[in-house]
Amino acid sequence: MTTTPGGLLLVLAVLAPIVGMLIAFTLGGRNAQRIASVTIVIGLGIAIAIAAAWAQTGATVVYLLGGWSPPLGIALRADGLSVVMMLAVAVVILGIGVYARADFATPAGVPEARAPFVFWTLLLAIWGALNLVFVSGDLFTLYVALELLTFAAVPLVSLDGRAETLRAALRYVLYALLGSMFYLLGVVLVYGAYGTLDIGLLAARVHAEPATLAAAAFMTVGLLAKTALFPLHLWLPPAHAGAPPAASAVLSGLVIKGSWFLAVRLWFDVLPGVVTLASAQLLGVLGAAAILAGNVVALRQARLKLLVAYSTVAQIGYLFLMFPLAFDAGAAALERGGALAGGTLQAISHASAKAAMFMAAGLIYRAVGHDRIAELAGVGRALPLSVLTFALAGLALMGLPPSGAYAAKKLLLDAAEASGQWWWASVMDVGGLLTAAYVVLVLVHALRPATEPREARAHVSHRAQIAALALALCSLLLGFAALGPAPLDAMPKPSLDFGALASALLVLLGGAVLAAGLGLRLPPLPSRGVLTAPLAPVRRATVAVGATFVRVDAALRQWPVAGLALIVAAIGFGAALLA
């Protein structure tokens, strides 16, 4: 193995944000933000250059650090997967960077303020850590990268210093730490069995034996805990809902993708032949449970930011549906193919859509002074751009054409059909309907005319609104990337024919019906009584179902239960890997 042309760019991708962080840390004050802006532009350039270097040959870009080749040294590698993730992260960071200028400007009269200093240095820190996750080819360096990511993410949760967010940050850090320790335990077992931590070398050496299976189970569950896959999600809703909006966008859009990506690396590149059908199905089952529970509980939220956070719980589920779909029963191994492309596309599409959604929710909060969904009447008129952003991001999350999620869903549906696993297809359809339900619910509230003229309580930055809208559009138009010379050549072309439009309408309609059945507080209907009276028993029944989901979710998020769930999941994966 040798360094390939363009390999040095991988070092730059990791170090540019980190060096930017060091300079911003030293100069501090208003300079921190200026340095961050310059670094974002440079970093985006580096991501594009890596994509170009990769596209030239289509082969993995490699860099041997210090000239030492594995197993003794550490190699950085970027395959198509890393390239796509790096590009997506750079674009989302750019959007967040523009958005956060208004919220995290150092106030006049002081040389330096706490929140802006912390936000801008840690934004760069998170970026460097994520890029390291994407390019590192060594399991231990990846452990350090995971910890870098956690240490940079946790302070963002409690940036406002309220007791509620401090508690959320503490839950996050404690649970995530046990998750990383499980990952490290797996790394230790792998080294003990094979004497190397290099992903490329391991792929050729691993075989199913007790140490490998135990390592796989512990590492997988550790990463799931850090990604907050249901039922290991106790920390996510309060953390993502409590953070300032720009920080929520980083946490929900980007940070959880780091540990998810590592799980993908582990299963597809290190253990493709070791994982079993049962273990892949188990990941899919957890994903399906996440989609169902996350979406239903989202529908039962009174506050917009918590609704969006629960939507993330659900969307994380989608990211794990590709594992059973990529399992080739004939070869008894995971295959890189349409399912993996679909899953990746889902991840980057969610990154931009969810960031946009949190940003829009933040702007609404700022303008109205609260985010109680039932009291959003008149917001559509006061803040049309942000409501539009929320709607477009919602369409992208639902997977309507031409969004990236639409193409992703199509790839996953094709894989489901090819492998005869129709049940995952129905999970995706139900998930899409439920997503449509809470988006419709929010929009119906926001678009209602206000009973009294609403006055914006605070000025909302125009630039921030545009940044959020741009990210939502990125996600919604991602499907068109298939038309260009994008690295995702497996992507289906978006079609905007009559059938696609009809099915889109059907999803929205189904969503509206579900919202009427499950939504927490419905807006008053003009035809009250005439239409709703016969449906009242139905509504009572569906509300009871929704309430059950909320109770189950609350029980699962109790610490002892979540702790037990972590161990049960580890043992479950161990057993499934033996099967």
């Binding site: 060091l22 000239g67 030492w68 040389p111 706490r114 870098l148 940079a152 302070p155 190397t196 161990i567």
Partner: protein, 312 residues
């Protein structure tokens, strides 16, 4: 004989760990943990990892112990309320069974893999000549896997930003931690006068021999940081305000120098973090010397905590 000693250490470790987990009183549990950390250092010597033993004693037992004891003292008042939330017996039983399952699975793996393990020792031996250092662990940390070490220094900086981020807004830029006013004739002040000269010598010694013998910058830096901390807690020294430009520069100087040497490697050795023939040991020492002050400051300030007083 040696087997008996090892068995004794292992049993004592388990006993102290059970105490740490099960003791009713948090303070007692933490004292148990500190003893556990020191005993762990002995276990490392038994496992022929003297470098690790030094790190474990200095960081695992020492710094972590001080951190936890101080926290326990401040959190005394909250203990009773938290203890009321102790889960019911069925939950505890389920947790015990699950934890037992984890132990059983790992024990099985340990027993199945007894005997010689795959090793990179021959690879290290074959290439250590090119690095010029004699301590193989230093060769791994600063040549073969230098990236990990660079990231490790940066992890500490991230943690420091995280700790600072917990300052109340109006105290931002101020001095970390409470101002200690120890009795000038008390035991703490006595220790703070007696120990630092010794500690500084030991710290520098451990740092300096690290290239060839067990020791190195992290262990040395920890001892030096502990001396600083001791002086702070005895009221003999004060932590600098976090807004000071010189402080910020000194904190990043180490990692920045590390990155600069690494970048120079691209030009002179053909790879980032590469060293040219003959210059390797000199460059490794440059990195270690540059890292030491930054590490001492970072570790000391992480221990000191978030800003709690105005800069004045």
């Amino acid at each position: 004989m040696i087997a008996a000693v090892n068995a004794g250490i292992a049993l004592l470790l388990l006993g102290l760990a059970i105490w740490t987990i099960a003791a009713r009183d948090t303070f007692a549990a933490i004292v148990g943990f500190v003893a556990y950390g020191l005993l762990l250092a002995l276990a490392w010597v038994a496992l022929r990892g003297v470098d690790v033993a030094l790190t474990e004693a200095a960081i695992g037992g020492g710094l972590t112990g001080v951190l936890l004891i101080r926290a326990a003292a401040k959190l005394r008042a909250t203990e009773a309320a938290s203890n009321a939330e102790r889960p019911a017996l069925p939950t505890r039983l389920a947790a015990a069974i699950m934890a037992g399952g984890v132990t059983a699975a790992l024990a099985l793996v340990v027993l199945r893999t007894a005997g010689p393990a795959p090793t990179l020792a021959p690879e290290v031996a074959a290439n250590i000549g090119a690095t010029g250092v004699a301590n193989p662990i230093t060769a791994v940390l600063l040549a073969f896997r230098a990236m990990d070490t660079l990231l490790e220094a940066i992890v500490l900086l991230f943690a420091l930003i995280g700790v600072w981020s917990l300052a109340p807004d109006h105290l931002w830029g101020g001095r970390p931690g409470a101002r200690y006013r120890a009795d000038p004739d008390g035991i703490l002040a006595y220790l703070a006068r007696l120990l630092p000269p010794l500690g500084i010598i030991v710290g520098f010694y451990i740092f300096w021999i690290g290239a060839d013998l067990p020791g190195g910058k992290f262990q040395g830096a920890t001892i030096l940081a502990a001396m600083w901390l001791l002086a702070m807690m005895a009221g003999l020294a004060d932590a600098p305000p976090v807004s000071r430009r010189w402080l910020r520069a000194a904190l990043v100087a180490g990692p920045a120098a590390f990155i600069a040497v690494g970048a120079a490697g691209v030009g002179i050795a053909g790879a980032f973090l590469g060293y040219p023939e003959g210059l390797a040991k000199a460059l490794i020492i440059v990195i270690e010397v540059a890292l030491l002050p930054s590490l001492v400051l970072t570790l000391g300030l992480i221990m000191a905590g978030a800003p709690e007083r105005t800069a004045a």
